[in-house]
Symmetry: C2
Subunit: 438 residues, 2 copies
């Protein structure tokens, strides 16, 4: 087992022993703090963020702050883009939408200067944060930390507009997709060798499941990167999936914390870290669920080579992601029935494409449902424990919940069920795996 990653000092908690000024720029540790839209929703909230930053500066860190757009701003800008053109041009979408973070970065730099903390704003293209040219959902390729380092050496807090970068070859602004500021923050942390990356949000950490559904859900002190990745992929909205991937690859110690805490009495939040750094490993760590699911079943599909390609090829071309796929022999024992899920937004398009290709594919009938939900249990402990999923199938059956489809992987399993059973199923699994708070 590696050294526990609690070495990171979290703010000026009593006894944490912050260094005392004057600090030596050469040896100062670096910290990335990321604040989402609700944390910078207005000037009052932005001033509150400045207080959080002030605390960490006083603790002896060189701080980079990554900010989202003020809450609601991105939606307003996206509406304008949609109003301006039915032809979606993602390059112009990016130019318009990236302006939201630009505004916040300048305002926070001002709010910091106002309380005596030297600060300057950084747009993606100024650092630069280089990305590929997949406008609207670009991937970060490289962050040059040199200019930020020079800024730290001048004693400045770097306030970075999240969510955005630049595609160097074209010189155009790119954005990273919804939640992209999380990824900006983690990637900046990796680039500047930050001691840790604190993601401030409107909840105080990662929970075993959504506390609005399960009041007995518990905040976790720690969660492994792999688990967090599955939680985020399977419906937990606390972090962008990509940000967890980046954190995992670059071993960035990432905390999820609340910006609504008193800046002078910060709570630790949840640390996302290596599996080995978690002392008491549970078999199941959390329960996630996603309502963004639609089920499609093709009955009596001709059972011949290439049929899967005929079905999923056209969907892939139309950029429709297919998730759970289950194939069973039909009741006529000669053909197969095929069930899979797609995102709700793609449901109608997927149906239309399949119906248009019915002759090519060769199926008898198509059945669909959108009132379904995917409930998942996640835990790295599943690797070493057999029969974890089987327990769930039994418990759900006992509650009269019918399972429409199942998928499993090394550290999670998911069941597709009728949406009306969502809360019951989540609570049942949460209790089953011993996650309820005492």
């Amino acid at each position: 087992m590696g050294a526990p990653c609690l070495g990171a000092r979290v703010g000026v908690a009593p006894g944490a022993g912050p260094r005392r000024p004057p600090f030596d720029p050469e040896t100062m540790a670096r910290l990335v703090m990321k604040f989402g839209g609700t944390s910078v929703a207005n000037l009052e909230r932005i001033r509150n963020v400045a207080q959080h930053v002030k605390r960490e500066v006083a603790a002896g860190y060189q701080v980079a702050v990554v900010v989202s757009a003020m809450s609601g701003k991105t939606n307003e800008l996206v509406e304008w883009v949609n109003d301006a053109s039915k032809i979606y041009d993602p390059r112009e979408y990016d130019a318009v939408v990236a302006s939201g973070e630009q505004v916040t970065s300048g305002l926070l730099a001002l709010a910091l200067s106002e309380i005596g903390i030297p600060a300057r704003s950084w747009q993606g293209w100024q650092i630069p944060v280089e990305t590929d040219d997949a406008h609207g959902s670009a991937r970060i390729e490289k962050i040059d930390g040199a200019r930020l380092a020079a800024s730290f050496a001048r004693g400045e807090v770097a306030v970075i507009a999240g969510f955005q970068g630049i595609h160097s070859a074209s010189g155009r602004i790119t954005t990273l997709g919804r939640g992209g500021s999380d990824t900006s923050a983690v990637a900046v942390a990796a680039a500047i060798g930050a001691e840790r990356c604190d993601i401030y949000t409107d909840v105080d950490g990662v929970y075993t499941t959504d506390p609005r559904i399960v009041p007995r859900a518990r905040r976790m002190d720690r969660i492994a990167f792999e688990e967090m990745l599955e939680m985020a992929s399977l419906g937990a909205k606390v972090l962008q999936v990509r940000s967890v991937e980046v954190a995992m690859v670059h071993k960035v110690k990432t905390f999820v914390r609340s910006s609504f805490d008193d800046p002078n009495a910060p709570q630790p939040g949840t640390l996302i870290c290596d599996e080995e750094d978690i002392l008491e490993q549970q078999v199941v760590t959390g329960i996630a669920f996603s309502r963004d699911e639609a089920q499609i079943t093709l009955r009596r599909v001709a059972d011949r080579p290439g049929v899967a390609a005929n079905i999923f090829g056209p969907l892939a071309e139309a950029n429709i992601n297919v998730d759970m796929i289950i194939q069973v022999v039909s009741d006529d024992a000669k053909t197969t029935d095929l069930t899979f899920t797609v995102g709700n937004a793609d449901y109608v398009r997927a149906k239309t494409i399949l119906e248009k290709n019915q002759t090519d594919i060769g199926f008898l009938s198509l059945h669909g449902a959108t009132d379904v939900v995917k409930v998942s249990a996640i835990g790295v402990g599943m690797r070493s424990h057999a029969g974890v999923a089987a327990l769930a199938f039994r418990a759900l059956a006992d509650k009269g919940i019918n399972i429409r489809a199942i998928t499993t992987s090394e550290i999670k399993f998911s069941v597709l069920i009728d949406a009306e059973y969502t809360e019951l199923a989540v609570r049942t699994l949460h209790t089953l795996y011993g996650l309820d708070k005492a």
Copy 2:
């Protein structure tokens, strides 16, 4: 007399003989079109702008469009900046405020694509528009037209965020000050060798005076650069002063036109051009007025060398612009009385500074007034006509209007009068110099 500058084709006016497609990119004429805040106030107005652009593209121009922020947006951003910090940091002000034009540029590019006109947005730093580092009121130093030319060659309309540039050494966003998009437009026109620069606004040209005060004011077909410069400096709000300077130096034929015209039946507006290109020259071309004036009079100033420096030095240091200065011998015949004007916003500061320095300067008393207005008559014809101003003094006296101060220069004179006589004075001079419409 030079060739009249009417050679410029204005849209597709009947008989103007637009070239016919296909156009040769090598020989196509270029055009800059600038649209202010009210012309891009919402998506409907932006679509209307796209129609104006479409007309000029159809006429065979390579078009660069320069846009302001949607009307009201800049004010909102400025308010946030002021709310964020009492310490004014013009670098962050620029980062925040420049986002307004960024949004409009993307939206117009989208609206153009929507109607089949290939277009892309350009931020100041992307072109780049290089400026000095006087954040908040930067001056353009250089515009590289190469990237825009490449964009034209690809058949794109270039939609340029006005008002902004980049200070290359620091890599930071700069803005050009209120009305700066006019200057952006004229400077881009010079950089790309545009045939002309059309400034679209909410009025249909430059008037002999404000039509809201003088209903008989006339739209001018032409006005000389020098006259427009004085008109803008002396209170006419139709163009930023700096833009006229740039147009004059680079001989950019500039039209002031209305974006509220039917895009398919555009009106010519007012052409700003060389003095020699105006056939019928009038002695007085226009009457301007400015309410942004405050008068300060120092009584019995010690009449000794260096006293002017003692008075105006501290004001200059405080960045207070002093305008009209009149010095007369006091009634005691040993000292002088000194009257001058400052902007309304600087009045209180100026008074405080002078009172603090009363002993150094040596004056008996300070009198001030803010309910004053400066009315000016402008015309290049004054150069060759004597006694033009004297006529005005007589006419104003006949109406019982007391003149507090007078300044004259080669092509204009100004009088400072009580504010309550503003309309009467403007109408009197407008009629006196034969400017009333028939």
